[in-house]
């Protein structure tokens, strides 16, 4: 449900421990119990449920039957796989969503912002940072409603602005729902990339840039030849983390409800609909298993990079 901080620093293990093993075990127990029940058990339980025909209501709610791979076969049924409102459609939509809003949108915008605020006057930096971070920390339902109002066809601020510039108005939530959630997610999440890259840029010794200034380098040259190569590790970290978050995000549901006609139904929203609106827990669990497998792939890449850093 959450993410982990960037790997801890390596530590020399000392022979002398402040806390005895028994006290240490006692200290670990409460956290261990909670994490087991709400993180580790769900992982195995979802796999189990995905092989049953469990439903939310009715006879199979109490006595689910083992149905083998039936749920997976229905998810991957080639006859309907790519149809709107089906799993394949949702998976492809989510892939496009991650590519456009996380890898292109958030990462590039975050990088641009982080670079810009290195050089601008402090008050510009403060104001820009404040709004970018506000977009990120405010509760998701509030943000969802803010965008709903912003994009309203008749009165919304965006259409008011477009009209002011002499451009045609649009009903964006109906006409371009996919691009709406792409822009929305970029806007919502750019702060993380900005802050990560900002702290990465700040860790570069200023003398590097001063030397480049003396040599007459332009800002673009400094960015390309000094900034970018030195923060390469941070970029990889950032891309993996925002990919995982965007893949699992449920927030667009609050703006579009997955619609119109399934056009913004990301896998998280598809999972919700199958399990809690169609009441098919078995099938929903199968979706959950596939989501976790995809998460696992990204997490393993991330952890292996963290390990390499440790060794270095």
């Amino acid at each position: 449900m959450t993410t982990e901080p960037i790997e801890a620093k390596p530590k020399k293990v000392r022979n002398f421990a402040l806390l005895s093993n028994r006290a240490g075990a006692a200290f670990l127990t409460p956290a261990g119990l909670l994490v087991s029940v709400f993180v580790i058990v769900p992982f195995f339980w979802v796999i189990f449920v995905s092989f049953t025909n469990r439903t939310l209501l009715g006879r199979t709610a109490l006595n689910p039957e083992f149905v083998g791979l039936a749920n997976y076969l229905s998810l991957f049924d080639p006859a309907t796989f790519f149809q709107r409102g089906q799993f394949g459609f949702s998976l492809i939509l989510t892939t496009q969503f991650v590519l456009a809003s996380a890898l292109l949108g958030q990462a590039l915008l975050g990088l641009l912002l982080a670079w810009l605020i290195q050089t601008v006057p402090p008050w510009v930096k403060r104001i820009t940072e404040t709004f970018v971070i506000a977009a990120w920390i405010l509760p998701e339902v509030v943000i969802g409603f803010a965008w709903f109002a912003f994009l309203d066809r008749d009165q919304g601020t965006l259409n008011m602005l477009l009209e002011g510039f002499g451009l045609p108005k649009g009903d964006f939530l109906l006409q371009q729902p996919f691009w709406v959630i792409v822009v929305f997610n970029t806007w919502r999440g750019a702060a993380f990339s900005m802050m990560l890259f900002n702290s990465a840029f700040s860790s570069i010794p200023p003398s590097y840039f001063q030397a480049a200034d003396v040599a007459g380098a332009s800002s673009w040259q400094k960015f390309r030849d000094i900034g970018l190569p030195l923060i390469r590790g941070h970029i990889v970290t950032d891309l993996i983390l925002i990919t995982m978050w965007t893949f699992n995000t449920f927030t667009p549901f609050l703006l579009t409800n997955g619609g119109p006609s399934y056009r913004t139904e990301l896998v998280s929203i598809y999972n919700y609909r199958v399990a809690f609106q169609d009441f098919q827990f078995g099938k929903g669990a199968a979706v959950g298993v596939i989501m976790m497998l995809i998460n696992l792939a990204f997490a393993l890449v991330y952890l292996s990079i963290g390990r390499k850093k440790k060794v270095r």
Partner: protein, 276 residues
């Protein structure tokens, strides 16, 4: 430092671009500065005329809306107490004891916490809460979030405790303190800033969450503000804009206050993955 003319023009262009992006980020939010104070607010951006607090009066007159804010508070505070206490103890053990398999535990936790997301695990979480007979209780939300936020909280705190010299507690123990005393009287006060960060982070996460309470709670009297906010829609499904605006602002205030507190107290320093 002397600036050449192109460099000067470049500076201005940079500032203009940064300000423009800032403005784009501000646009969807500006509405919340005006609409709550406008008795005739609509979805469009407009200056209130006159400025009024009547929307807030209506919201505070709505017992369901007030109850929902209180529910959010109970769930966030309950979750944060659990996360703060359990994570501090666990992080201290991971940092200061030499329990075998510490490294493996850390690795497994890292892995599971990133694999088991709320949206992937909504079915099993629902079933676990249901099997435990906790459906539609505050405790359901509190425990689920405590479990989900704990791994990250533990990593933030362990990093923090690792950076504190062991000699603090060692000298206390030389003076005759037991390990538990050394923890409570010596280590805990030093760790406190780290705990504050974890608690604020956890509070903001639970306070703003939608999906988990949405699937685990049923009755109106338990709903947090994030779900209850949808009661400000008319029968036809159109939003009652004035109330929504005022309520959204009230609901956002604790988050804004905590952000200001953290940036005043610590500077909004960057902790890897500070937000779920």
């Amino acid at each position: 430092m002397k600036l050449t003319i192109p460099a000067f023009v470049g500076r201005i262009a940079f500032s203009a671009l940064a300000a423009l992006i800032g403005a784009i980020f501000a646009l969807p939010l500006l509405w919340f500065l005006f609409a709550p104070f406008n008795a005739r607010a609509e979805l469009g951006l407009a200056l209130p005329d006159p400025w009024t607090l009547s929307n807030f009066v209506t919201v505070f007159g709505n017992s369901y809306a007030v109850q929902a804010l209180w529910n959010s508070f109970i769930q966030a505070v309950g979750g944060v107490i659990l996360v703060g206490a359990a994570a501090t103890l666990a992080a201290y053990a991971l940092s200061r004891s030499s329990i075998p398999g510490k490294g493996a535990v850390t690795y497994i936790l890292l892995l599971f916490s990133s694999v088991v997301s709320g949206s992937a695990a909504m079915v099993p979480i629902f079933l676990i809460i249901s099997a435990a007979g906790l459906m539609d209780t505050h405790l359901a939300v509190i425990l689920t979030f405590a479990g989900g936020l704990l791994p990250t909280a533990m990593f933030i705190l362990r990093d923090f405790i690792d950076s504190i010299p062991k000699s603090y507690e060692e000298s206390a123990m030389v003076a005759g303190a037991s390990p538990v005393q050394a923890f409570f009287d010596v280590a805990l006060p030093v760790i406190r800033p780290g705990i504050v960060v974890v608690v604020v982070w956890g509070f903001v996460n639970i306070w703003g969450s939608f999906l988990i309470p949405f699937i685990l709670l049923r009755s109106d009297s338990n709903m947090p503000a994030s779900v209850a906010i949808y009661s400000f829609y008319s029968e036809a499904g159109t939003p009652i804009v004035t109330l929504l605006a005022a309520y959204s602002l009230i609901y956002s205030l604790p988050v804004i206050a905590l952000y200001l507190f953290v940036s005043w107290k610590f500077g909004f320093r960057f902790f890897g993955g500070i937000k779920a």
